[in-house]
């Protein structure tokens, strides 16, 4: 059996705890920072709404109740699957998320795929048991992994949009419109992935089965493709759950810079004006997606590399 069911089950149970913790942390964090959520309802910070309007909002939304009661009410609402109504947009949070989720998922999934392709291609090209290639490859990976997305995004816009006019700087869901934001997210991630996998790739190239395959007359590229990647991929797959979380987080910056609709940009705006239900909803959906991808990575990892014991990674 390749699928580590026990581990998958534990991930799922842990996932529920993660969701509860995310909702709790978000609720108290956004109420702890300065700023009055009643103003989000009244048109944003600095509202000069009259006393009647403010009193009406405080009563309507329960802001006059003790914080722990507001927390319990919020938790009860969330437990019944009700995400509530956005303070600022006056629309159901579920509807807002439903509208914005697709664009962010598309961006994150594409970035994850492109990061994998870049990382594998780079590893195939530069993993050598001899010569300076390995050192060079590893160095480039470190630099790529350290690039801040916002800086990379700015450079990509200057080069490919303002100067060369090859690609639009404003992102939409066409191939051209997705290219720059996907690259801005994928390049640092590819650096991480390749760096994580390089060690095990090297190990497998010098492992006894590789030597015997080479003795059978397999050429080096074929060897790397067939045997090494399979073994090398395991740490990369384990990392993909984390990577997905990283991509959702990165979407806040990337969607803002490329003027792309999506959850990240909505979250940024919601935090700015202290829209508690919207922030909580987006954090919960992101956490759920993160849990789901982690479980998936667990299953895929088990299938690709069925050696016992690695599931604990």
């Amino acid at each position: 059996m390749g699928v580590p069911w026990r581990a998958v089950l534990w991930r799922a149970v842990g996932g529920l705890i993660v969701l509860w913790a995310a909702a709790t942390a978000t609720f108290f964090a956004i109420r702890a920072v300065p700023g009055d959520p009643a103003q989000a309802v009244l048109g944003g910070p600095g509202s000069q709404a009259g006393p009647e309007a403010l009193a009406q909002v405080r009563a309507e939304y329960g802001f006059d109740q003790p914080l722990w009661m507001q927390y319990l009410r919020t938790l009860g609402r969330l437990a019944s699957g009700e995400l509530g109504t956005s303070y600022s947009l006056h629309r159901p949070v579920a509807a807002v998320i439903g509208e914005q989720l697709g664009g962010t998922l598309l961006l994150a999934v594409l970035a994850l795929l492109v990061a994998w392709v870049l990382a594998l291609a780079w590893l195939l090209a530069t993993t050598r048991t001899r010569g300076p290639w390995n050192t060079l490859g590893s160095g480039v990976e470190l630099v790529a992994a350290a690039l801040p997305e916002f800086w990379l995004a700015a450079v990509l816009i200057v080069v490919f949009s303002s100067t060369l006019h090859w690609l639009p700087g404003l992102s939409d869901n066409t191939a051209g419109g997705l290219a720059l934001p996907v690259l801005a997210l994928a390049i640092p991630l590819a650096g991480f992935l390749a760096q994580t996998m390089r060690g095990s790739m090297m190990d497998s190239l010098t492992a006894p089965y590789s030597l015997s395959a080479r003795a059978r007359g397999e050429r080096s590229t074929g060897l790397r493709l067939r045997h090494s990647i399979r073994h090398a991929a395991a740490p990369g797959i384990a990392l993909s759950g984390w990577a997905f979380g990283y991509l959702i987080g990165g979407s806040v910056v990337i969607e803002t810079i490329f003027a792309r609709p999506g959850l990240g940009r909505t979250l940024y705006n919601a935090v700015t004006i202290r829209d508690v239900p919207l922030v909580t909803g987006i954090v919960l959906v992101s956490a759920a997606a993160y849990v789901l991808v982690t479980v998936l990575a667990e299953i895929v990892g088990g299938l690709v590399d069925p050696r016992p014991g690695r599931a604990a990674a």
């Binding site: 309802v41 009406q56 450079v155 609709p261």
Partner: protein
Amino acid sequence: MRVRSTALAAAALGTALLLAGCTSGGGSPSGASSTPVAGGTLRYASGDAEPTCLDPHVGGNYPQALVASQYLEPLVGRDASGAIIPWLATSWTTSPDGLSWDFTLKDGVTFHDGTPFDAAAVRANVLQILDPATKSSTGYLALAKVADVEVVDRLHARFHLSAPDAALLESLSQPWTAMESPAGMARGVDANCLQPYGTGPFEVSEWVHQDHITLTRYDGYASPPADAAHQGPAYLDSILWRFIPDAATRYAALQSGEVDIIDNAQPDTVAQAQQNPSAGIVALQAPRPGASNRIEFNGGQGPFTDQRVREAFIRAVDVDAGVKSLFFGTAPRSYSPLSSVEPDAYSAPDDFPYDPAAAAKLLDEAGWTPGPDGIRVKDGQRLVLRFPVSTNQSIPAEQSLFQQFQASAKQAGFDVQISLLDLSSWYAALAAHEYDLVSAPYTKVGPDVLRILYDTEGITPAPSGYFANLAQVSIPELDQLLSQASATLDPAQRAQLYQQAQKIILDQARILPLYDQQNNFLYRSDVHGVRALATVSTPTFLDAWVSKGS
């Protein structure tokens, strides 16, 4: 903090664009054709936040005003000289006691949904703004003295006031009190937020949240303001109103031709357009009315309760040099509490010299003596000044300017502690009185903004904790002048009262004026007929057209 990283990205990209700028652009020379061409779509990129509600009666902020100026129109307008001009109202008269105003309305005007514009509609609008359920903030304040509106007949509306209000026309010229279809408002606040019906040259036809609003030409348009360049519907078929929060992306999109016009253009890009007209990008500077951008000294607590300390700070910082270098000559210096577009602005250039020696002398006199680390001390207290700065309201150039002030004030012995805050935290810091200096822009048509900012009443916080009198000025003589001015209908007399009021504020060193509230647009040179309304400086595209083939 995400805010910081975006700003950094903007700075990085801005620099890179300076280098890239010379290779792009290259639009056609302007003046190639001067006959307006009908048709086409104008792509507008806004750096302001996306409104949460398209009805500016609800809440009432500048992002709403920007877009609402395309589909809503006010009763009156304002021309370039600052004079009130007819718009949806053709004429008006005041009763001798100033308590009732009669407006004659333009005939034959219809809202986008087919509802006729009449006196009953004016009444419905005013009542909606004053209704607490609408949750109006800006419009509610503007109409605070309106008790009711009487429908005299179809085209005559009479405003009944609870007290004389010389600022009524200025208040009614703002987008936050503009006219909407009563049938549209009757659908309820939430539905009206998504698609308000006005009388403007464009109507809201689609709103894709986080992305764009599509505005299409209103073919039944019949209500141009008195200063419009042409009668009848707009030339453009539609406006694609996009939200592009990042300044560098916005400018890159303009350069690459993905959009035709941007707002919130940064000073370096404005200077580039001005110095290099052949690049095909035109700058439109439209400073906002009301108050100037100024640093206010908190006179209610701490070191700035002493006028000598306020004067010392003014002399310790070199405003001119900082503004010139950081704003690339695009922001003329202000010496007034009011914007330069306000005809009643009183300017006192001699009150604000850069003079470190005088600053030191003033601080000595005030009993602040140099401490071991150069920061002055009095009664064991260090001369610490808390300076909360809003990253939403202060552009990167202004944040840099404040950092320069921090450095030069340190030479004089001030320890200025700047904290960069997001908008909610910034308002919370002000409400908690955790500031000694602050820069808080305030947009309002007319000099009555002085009463909001400097009347003793403005120290008492609104229920939300907000208070406008951040300098915490409480001077009986000033209060007297400001309330007298707001009840004085004679323009010359009113102007004189406001000038006296401004002189008191400047004489007592309550503020340090910097420049007008910046409002910069950049557009491609194939766009013609763009101008900003002289009310709150929002753009209007009634007369705009795009020349083809460039």
